[in-house]
Symmetry: C2
Subunit: 330 residues, 2 copies
């Protein structure tokens, strides 16, 4: 049962709030987000400050949506992709609430949700916010090239989503989706060294976590209405299905990937979206309401993260990856 | 009681293991560490790889010291100061164990210990490793200047410790120190903009957490044999004592700071040590044994973190800070 946590009190997701940028607004799921910006600087002087403001707004609006007050919130658990997770750390200045910073690249939201569920399930805290976000412009210039360079993207690349989302976890709610269990992932490294091909780097980690989850919980792919991965993109998703088939699990019938869902793939986004905000906004805006209204009843959500840095890449290292999974039910 | 968690099962610290570099070896606490290196590259080709190896070695030796096996470990929770916490993420490749990455700058070890205690106290996991580390050379070149530049350090500066440590948290042990409660800190920003003066930036966060802790637990400074802060250094410690006195708490009699303890201050280390490894190795090697043998019985340990990045500093931002506190008793 290693790595799998069962939550006996079924921590509820009382509310979610999602914010995205202009590109996401004009794409497939544009009408589902709570707030879609026309200005990807969100009125700020830098993209980093915009990313921070998106996180902060998502959290305060999520609290408001739940009809709670900031003083009712026991803790905020959040992270992002920037060096020293500055978007999350600077966001936390805006709230008089205890804060725990996490880093798990694009699987940050499921790590946050696991720890929030643990705090609420233990009865030690009442209402905990999980949040994560990313911004195309801040990630691109931090991880790759200056935006002004107009560097050509190779076909295996993904597009970092501009988006932030917050989820409010509580024991005090009825008739809303809850988190029944979770599987904490291991770091897996298959030796991929192409920092533009994160889908290939992350697929083995997703396979490891999802197959461990099936084993530890005694479930099969058909026990879930949906199996959602974070942001493997088109290529990574194909690799995951292949790897899981070899491990004895066929997820072909009910797998979707947030990276594939978020953009109109014909637009030239190549493999699809990525970034800590990608699965956060897709699950928060598009999947959560379907669970809430009973359209689907049981979802396995395994966000995926590539744990590289520019320094590790420059030093010739491969890309270790991770995936943390949660089960959301109603 | 906001932010304070009480652990009813008293999660035990079964073992600790600490590794430091040559400067720490030749300083005040040199004889207390489990392993003190003569080579601050630890046989690796880069300082970053050395930092990762220190973390990995600390964890495997900590498991060995406890007479457990790697297969007995339920999870590892770790972090460091590098962009995308690569030391922790790459370390986790070495273990077939679920992993949670955290970032809280120099208060990483107390965040790790709080989350490990929560997992163990809930009965959901048996044995969880908390770890953190830092390296002077990697931090200096990431946050400040190339080492080759030989930049002059201003008198208010601290020296990032080269050190890594691991703590094994379990319910299954007797007659060892345990973690009775903890207070999760809030992000506090008093507007300090001097990235060389982190003691001043962090002191208000330490004051906030420690005074909240006293209030929430109904305790006073005299209820603790020691009140240990992470790495405020000499100036930051003076500021903390002043701020706490204004808040009604006098910690003059029993306060020590890991940043002040780690180096011979006459050596020209200015305000003392800092870095995620600093308090990790001081508490793990020097304080933990004193608790274990009953020399002291109750310690409040509040590690402190400055949540800046080079990007935030370049964009003119001030330095938000945080401090997470735990109580260790025997």
């Amino acid at each position: 049962m290693k790595g799998t946590l069962f939550f006996k009190n079924k921590p509820k997701i009382l509310s979610t709030y999602t914010i995205v940028g202009p590109k996401e607004k004009s794409s497939t799921l544009g009408s589902f987000y709570d707030l879609a910006l026309n200005d990807d600087k969100y009125g700020e002087s830098t993209y980093e400050k915009a990313e921070c403001k998106m996180l902060s707004t998502a959290i305060s609006k999520c609290i408001k949506k739940s009809s709670l007050k900031e003083s009712d919130i026991s803790a905020i658990i959040a992270g992002d992709l920037l060096n020293q997770i500055i978007s999350a750390n600077f966001m936390a200045r805006d709230f008089d609430v205890p804060f725990l910073g996490v880093y798990s690249a694009c699987s940050t939201i499921t790590e946050s949700l696991i720890l929030s569920s643990l705090l609420v399930d233990s009865g030690k805290m009442d209402n905990v916010i999980s949040a994560a976000g990313s911004h195309f412009a801040t990630a691109e210039r931090q991880y790759r090239y200056p935006l002004e360079l107009g560097a050509i993207r190779p076909p295996q690349a993904q597009w970092t989503a501009t988006g932030a989302g917050a989820y409010l976890i509580t024991n005090n709610a009825k008739n809303v989706p809850y988190i029944s269990c979770a599987t904490v992932g291991k770091v897996v490294d298959f030796g991929v060294t192409d920092a533009n091909n994160m889908g290939a780097a992350m697929a083995p980690a997703a396979c490891d976590t999802i197959s461990n989850h099936f084993k530890n919980t005694g479930t099969n792919p058909s026990d879930y209405d949906l199996i959602i991965t974070g942001d493997l993109g088109a290529l990574g998703s194909r690799l995951l299905k292949h790897l899981l088939k070899k491990a004895g699990y066929d997820i072909e019938a009910n797998h979707v990937d947030c990276g594939e869902l978020i953009y109109n793939m014909a637009e030239g986004d190549f493999q699809g979206g990525s970034g800590a905000g990608c699965s956060t906004v897709v699950v928060g805006s598009y999947i959560y309401p379907k669970l809430k209204n009973g359209e689907i009843k049981r979802v396995l959500f395994s966000a995926t993260g590539a744990l590289l840095s520019t320094t590790s890449t420059q030093q010739g290292e491969s890309i270790p990856s991770i995936s943390h999974a949660i089960v959301i039910e109603i």
